[in-house]
């Protein structure tokens, strides 16, 4: 009994210390933002240091070319710096940065010509009758296949499917990020899925 009470107390303490750490980190961030806004580059460097791996993971969904990928991450932070004055502290900084990252990625897709290279499901040992999450597949293999599949779609379709499936956004969240209405998000997602399905079936049949 005493042992369980002690462990509960320890858990409470741990919870409190996690909260304190989060609060400290947020305060630190607020200070960095304020200093970055006055033009102190060292303060902005702290923000880049803190979030660059999260943004890199997100931008890896936009390009598999390492050079382009790194450039996209840079673009995101340059845009973050330019828009920092508009940050209203209503959501976590990373959340706000992710929206900028989506815009940067989408711009890149729009500028880049759509890849015409075909993707065959059989190439990845895909079994359409067992198309569930249980199919043995490494994360890298799944990522590459998903990227190659979506790469065949126009930028708008590609973005909506990336947001909904890869980034697990709800319709509301996707609407917020894209600036589209909820019904437009639903229609766009439906059309994108249909287009992708037709593409895959066509390629497989040929």
């Amino acid at each position: 009994m005493r042992a369980s009470e002690a462990s509960l107390h320890r858990a409470d303490q741990q919870g409190a210390s996690t909260d304190d750490a989060a609060r400290l980190a947020a305060d630190e961030e607020t200070d960095w933002i304020a200093r970055a806004l006055t033009g102190e580059s060292a303060a902005f460097a702290m923000l880049v240091d803190r979030y660059q791996q999260e943004i890199a993971a997100q931008m890896w969904r936009f390009s598999r070319d390492r050079n382009v990928h790194e450039e996209l991450v840079q673009d995101v932070f340059v845009e973050v710096y330019r828009s920092l004055g508009n940050f209203r502290f209503e959501s976590p900084l990373l959340h706000w940065m992710r929206k900028i990252a989506v815009r940067v990625g989408y711009r890149y897709w729009k500028a880049k010509e759509r890849k015409k290279e075909k993707v065959f499901l059989s190439q990845f040992e895909y079994d359409s009758t067992q198309a569930d999450s249980e199919q043995p597949r490494s994360a890298e293999e799944a990522g590459n296949l998903l990227h190659a599949m979506l790469e065949q779609l126009p930028a708008r379709d590609r973005m909506i499917l990336t947001l909904i499936y890869w980034e697990e956004h709800t319709v509301e969240e996707a609407a917020e990020v894209t600036g589209w209405s909820r019904s437009l998000v639903k229609v766009q997602a439906f059309r994108a899925r249909k287009k992708l399905k037709e593409l895959l079936e066509q390629q497989e049949a040929n």
Binding site: A56, A131, D132, S138, L161, K197, A205
Partner: protein, 100 residues
């Protein structure tokens, strides 16, 4: 009823299930590590003088434009003045001549 499926039937892809499964698996993939801090700061430093140059350029264009516009306005008003005063001057001159 013939329930035999033709052999050359197109594969039926459940796209929602496929995307969900792949995305779930792909979410744990590790992206390449990056270190962009220095490059970002360098880009920001390079962009600052560009902004300054742009505003300086805008200032110069605005000044030169204003001067040209003022010159044109002066020429037009001078022309109008001549047009207005010329007939009056001529009348005065002819009156003077007549009086003499």
């Amino acid at each position: 009823m013939n329930t035999n499926k033709p052999n050359n039937k197109q594969p039926d892809v459940d796209i929602d299930q496929l995307l969900t499964g792949l995305a779930r698996a792909a979410r744990s993939e590790t992206a390449p590590k990056v270190d962009v801090t220095r490059a970002v700061l360098q880009r920001l430093e390079e962009e600052e003088p560009a902004v300054y140059t742009l505003s300086e350029k805008v200032w110069w264009y605005a000044t030169a434009g204003s001067l040209v516009a003022a010159g044109i306005a002066m020429m037009i008003s001078y022309q109008s003045w001549i047009e207005l005063t010329d007939p009056a001057y001529e009348v005065l001159t002819s009156m003077q001549v007549a009086l003499r």
